[in-house]
């Protein structure tokens, strides 16, 4: 919302220091976001006198004028035939001036006449929405003077953020009250003189959403332009002057915060007002020339039959005030904020009026606002008050709220001077009665945001100044508890970083089409939560896996000159009813891209190694069960298990997916359910190791894929003797001298005992029997032992 500083000063004699005033408002809760000078773009425009007016030789509808700024004589062309010799105009010399919208005035040729500037209308000076004529000063005037000074356009306005709890601050008087409280000054309200008639207009309320409806009829008004000062003020707060009646409704709203409406009384067919709920499908052509369709929840102002206005939002075009309007009906009403908000949302229209009504307008300010409006209409548009009505079915009164002294002190950590407390509340328009243990405060109805003691504490704190309250670091002692789950996730992240993976953080929304690529049955898409109102269809599905986000990250990086990328992500994935935290890993390219001595590319077994290592660091034993699934290339995928239960998957992405990502080397992916791993963690325990020398034996063999599995070979070896202390794969090779479809495998077995040093013979017996057992196994050919 905008206010004009010079306008604000009508109601409070505040500081002249603009920065200080802005700071006072900001630090009391009405944040000044921008300090503006509304007419700053209007530059170089001066008073000039018309010296000569002759018809344009080539155009009947134009005149050529000569204008002087007291020095030079300028040629200009105008279509305004009312401009006469000796008129004093606002003249914008070419190349040196700009109009209010910042447009530079150029020297142009109009139908063969070269101009050296132009005479401006109020529109071009930002003071009117439409202008019929060039602006003329009413009297003789010194020439060559800047119009900014001549028309008092050197104004300052504030763009403010008013929080939704403070509709009372959506006006100059409301903010003046705040400044008065901060600066400890008097609030000066406009003087009123009108008497409000209580009869003579037929009004009835049939909707519970209308809290108060006052109507005043004024006959014989003259609709014309507003005085310049009013235009100037409205323009300075971003409102476009229209005509005196419309401008006065805006003026009163900006002054007092209460939106009002004016009907052309003669255009109300039944000459009466009925406030009722709309009928479903009822339509109204509004002042903005748009037609709105309403339903039974919306409140309409009608004449009993015809809709005249959408209550609290916008008036109807049919009954709008025009230059030919003679008799008007002023509406000063209050509506249920929630109803107005619903209507505004439903028809997709937010106006200055609906913005205020949906935050809450005080029904008890009605008389004051009505008198102010009537005073202005009579003064600036003439006419006589011909009748009125005031319906206020359920009167609301001020609230009494008690602020205990102890409570205030406990919130702000000190006991303030009682006199300061009293003064602050009084300046905010509240009545204060001091009692032994606190203050009984009567809260005016324009402060609906205050209903309990803490609300009053806020009033004290913000006017006193939050920065002026003491600061302490003395929270009571509390035993620190560690969140083990959080810590676990942190440890996993750090482990992944240690294994050479960068962390990615991607959007949890994914493209349903992308999910379908690895889910032809559509089952995942069906089960994942979908957004009703996504940013775009490509971001409409809550991810069923971290794979999709990682795919786009890997693709983005690979397609931006990063050939080797290794990423992990930790985050929520979503299914129909639940969400669970997962670790996703995706990698492609070299194992050690920064090691120029290591040219190896990542293989699926490397990724498996990293997953196993995470398991080992977390004290969890992971198993892998080879399985073909839609996520991976055939023969290159496995399920990950913990305690026999599935907890993840690992594999190589299918070539089609890789092509889709525009990545040309194999891409590996693993995903594990972190909670299952967390729960399977075993506490670290000390295990005795042998004090006696051990010896190692190697056994190399060809393993035929599909016939034998490394897992079984290792199992057999482990079980082959009670003297096995350790076993590891020490070589793996595919290529020269290895039969097709097989791989060469070497395992190193460590023999030892907890009780003694094993004899050569004991070892040989154990080893020979193992070699024999393996050699007899189908798909295994032992080729070398040592």
């Amino acid at each position: 919302m905008k206010i004009c500083v010079q306008w604000l000063k009508d109601y409070v004699n505040s500081t002249d220091d603009i920065e200080k005033l802005s700071n006072e408002l900001t630090m009391s809760g009405s944040e000044v976001e921008e300090i503006e000078r509304p007419f700053e773009k209007l530059k170089g425009v001066v008073s000039g006198k018309v010296m000569e007016v002759i018809p344009h030789p080539n155009a009947d509808n134009l005149n050529v004028c000569k204008v002087t700024d007291g020095g030079k004589l300028y040629t200009t062309v105008t279509s305004d035939k009312t401009v006469q010799v000796n008129d004093v105009v606002a003249f914008a010399p070419a190349h040196e001036s700009t109009t209010a919208d910042g447009k530079k005035v150029e020297s142009v040729e109009i139908r063969g006449i070269k101009t050296h500037g132009m005479m401006l209308s109020l529109k071009e000076m930002g003071l009117e929405s439409h202008s019929a004529h060039v602006f003329r000063f009413g009297k003789e005037m010194e020439l060559g003077k800047n119009v900014i000074d001549l028309l008092n356009l050197d104004l300052t306005s504030f763009e403010l953020e008013i929080t939704p709890n403070r509709p009372d601050c959506l006006s100059h008087v409301g903010l003046a009250r705040e400044v008065a409280a901060v600066e400890k000054k008097e609030l000066k309200l406009p003087r009123l003189s009108a008497e409000l008639p209580r009869s003579g207009v037929d009004v009835s309320i049939e909707s519970s959403g209308c809290w108060r409806y006052m109507a005043i009829r004024i006959d014989g008004v003259k609709v014309k332009d507003s005085p310049l000062w009013m235009k100037r003020r409205l323009a300075s707060v971003g409102l476009r002057p229209i005509n005196n009646i419309a401008d006065m409704t805006n003026y009163v709203m900006m002054e007092l915060g209460h939106p009002v409406h004016v009907f052309d009384f003669d255009k109300i067919p039944h000459s009466k007002i009925v406030v009722r709920n709309a009928r479903d499908g009822e339509k109204l052509l509004a002042l903005n020339s748009k037609e709105y369709k309403l339903n039974g929840k919306d409140i309409l102002i009608t004449d009993g039959e015809n809709p005249l206005a959408i209550a609290g939002v916008i008036g109807g075009k049919e009954t709008g005030v025009t230059y030919s309007t003679k008799n008007v009906l002023l509406e000063i009403a209050t509506f249920d904020p929630v109803k107005i908000r619903k209507t505004s949302r439903a028809i997709g229209l937010s106006t200055d009026a609906s913005f205020r009504f949906e935050r809450g307008v005080d029904p008890n300010s009605t008389e004051f606002v009505a008198k102010r409006l009537v005073d202005m209409v009579v003064k600036f548009a003439g006419g006589t008050v011909a009748g009125g009505s005031d319906l206020y079915p359920t009167r609301i009164g001020p609230k009494k709220v008690f602020l205990p002294r102890k409570r205030l002190a406990s919130y702000i950590a000190y006991e303030p001077e009682p006199s300061e407390v009293v003064e602050i509340f009084q300046r905010l328009g509240m009545e204060v009665s001091t009692e032994s243990d606190g203050w009984a405060i009567t809260v005016p109805t324009f402060r609906q945001d205050i209903s309990e003691d803490v609300d009053l504490i806020e009033e004290f704190a913000r006017i006193h100044g939050l920065d002026n309250l003491p600061t302490s670091l003395s929270l009571p002692y509390i035993a620190i508890k560690e969140n083990k789950w959080w810590k676990f996730k942190d440890n996993v992240k750090n482990a992944m970083v240690g294994f050479g993976y960068y962390e990615a953080v991607t959007y949890p929304f994914v493209d349903p089409k992308l999910v379908k690529t690895s889910d032809p049955s559509g089952e995942k898409v069906m089960k994942s939560p979908k957004l009703v109102n996504p940013i775009s269809p490509e971001m409409s599905l809550m991810r069923p896996s971290l794979k999709f986000g990682l795919m786009s990250v890997v693709a983005y990086n690979v397609n931006h000159q990063q050939s080797s990328v290794r990423f992990f992500e930790m985050g929520k994935v979503f299914s129909e009813k639940s969400e669970s935290e997962k670790l996703g890993i995706m990698a492609t390219g070299r194992i050690n891209p920064y090691d120029y001595t290591d040219k190896r590319n990542m293989e699926l077994l490397n990724l498996k190694g990293d997953v196993e290592a995470v398991g080992e660091l977390m004290h969890v034993e992971l198993e892998f069960r080879q399985k073909d699934m839609v996520d991976f290339e055939v023969g290159r995928g496995a399920e990950i298990l913990v305690n026999g239960q599935k907890c993840g998957i690992i594999g190589e992405l299918p070539v089609e997916i890789r092509d889709f990502m525009n990545v040309h080397s194999p891409v590996y992916f693993a995903e594990v359910d972190l909670e299952k791993i967390f729960k399977a963690q075993k506490p670290a325990r000390y295990v005795k190791y042998s004090q006696y020398p051990v010896s190692s034996k190697d056994i190399s063999m060809f393993v035929k894929k599909g016939k034998a599995k490394a897992e079984d070979i290792i199992k057999i070896a482990k079980k082959s003797s009670k003297y096995i202390m350790g076993l590891k794969v020490s070589d793996f090779y595919i290529g020269k001298n290895v039969p097709k479809g097989s791989y060469s495998l070497t395992i190193t077995i460590t023999y030892g005992s907890m009780e003694k040093t094993l004899s050569e013979e004991e070892i040989n017996v154990a080893f020979t029997s193992l070699v024999e057992e393996l050699d007899s196994k189908s798909g295994v050919i032992v080729r070398k032992v040592s």
Partner: protein, 329 residues
């Protein structure tokens, strides 16, 4: 004879000079000075001469022997040294080559800042709590004193899920869940992802927040100020001016926003976090008696902190996850 001896000595000296390997030099020592060496044969030759001549030539030969011996030893010494030098060079490594780097990754700046904040608040006694990202309207709004048609909902443009739930717009929902399941005193912090339908260079539709909650006896605005000032200074350093400005949130009263001024900002204040004393209605909603307990809550955006701390101007860098971006942190 004399001439022979002289040319002989001269030749030998020349030879020694030309030797450039240790093996050759050692061989030469044997060839010249050894039992069957050249000098021995020369000494044998002079035995046939007259005693005077013998004495004269003998002296000459003896001098020559000493000289040659010394020359050879020097040569051997020199060559030995040279050989050692070669070996050292051979063994040496050009350490001006860049290191052959092992792979390492980095945490996303979001995680780094989150971790930093969690550590700071952990030390002040705050425990991490978490909650669901798909939330019911009750936990996200109603329990937080924000009924359906409240204008404050304008500030939270909400994503709705097809089953009627919503994506939480703040982690304050976790406060409610925590207060429902535990008894005060409470001191918790909840980091996590939140969602708002907003997308431009300073807003992401999914971003991260960290929220804190203290419920205790006699906790005051002063405690709130002290706690937050301490945290902000830990993150940004002691030299940044901080101000506490009144604001409005439906779930706190009084409500506060905290601004920080950065030297690069030329005196402009940047909003860093929202805070306030927990609204008594929120306490009542979870069955805590506001006459007995009071407290404060606060929340801040992780991306915003990271942007201010690292000088990142476009928030959309975070979800892009470009390696050249991630490497900076």
């Amino acid at each position: 004879m004399e001439e022979i001896s002289e040319t002989f000595i001269k030749n030998v000296k020349e030879k020694i000079k030309r030797v450039n390997t240790l093996v050759e030099a050692k061989k030469m020592k044997v060839d010249i000075l050894g039992k069957n060496g050249l000098l021995k044969s020369k000494f044998a030759e002079i035995k046939k001469l007259s005693p005077e001549k013998r004495a004269e030539l003998g002296k000459m030969l003896n001098d020559a022997k000493r000289e040659i011996e010394s020359l050879l030893l020097d040569k051997i010494h020199e060559l030995k040294k040279m050989e050692e030098q070669h070996k050292i060079v051979e063994k040496s490594i050009d350490l001006t080559l860049p290191g052959a780097r092992r792979n390492f990754g980095k945490l996303h700046p979001i995680s780094q800042i989150t971790q930093e904040c969690v550590d700071i608040f952990n030390k002040m006694g705050f425990e991490v709590v978490e909650g669901p990202e798909i939330e019911s309207s009750y936990y996200n709004f109603e329990a937080l004193n924000t009924p359906e048609w409240h204008p404050a909902r304008d500030l939270h443009d909400t994503f709705y899920v097809n089953d009627g739930r919503l994506l939480r717009t703040h982690t304050s929902s976790v406060q409610i869940r925590t207060m429902e399941s535990r008894k005060p005193p409470l001191r918790v912090i909840s980091p996590g992802r939140v969602y708002r339908k907003d997308y431009d260079s300073s807003h992401l539709p999914a971003f991260f927040q960290i929220e804190g909650l203290v419920v205790d006896k006699n906790v005051s605005i002063s405690d709130l100020k002290g706690t937050l000032e301490n945290a902000i200074k830990s993150i940004f350093g002691n030299d940044k001016p901080i101000r506490f400005r009144p604001h409005y949130f439906p779930f706190t009263e009084p409500s506060i926003e905290v601004d920080v001024s950065f030297p690069e900002g030329k005196g402009k204040w940047l909003e860093l976090l929202g805070a306030g004393m927990v609204h008594p209605q929120v306490l009542r909603n979870v069955g805590i008696d506001p006459k007995e307990w009071q407290g404060f809550a606060f929340g801040m955006g992780i991306e915003r902190i990271a942007m201010l701390k690292y000088g990142i101007s476009d928030i959309r860098e975070f979800p892009r996850n470009y390696l050249d971006f991630l490497k900076n942190f």
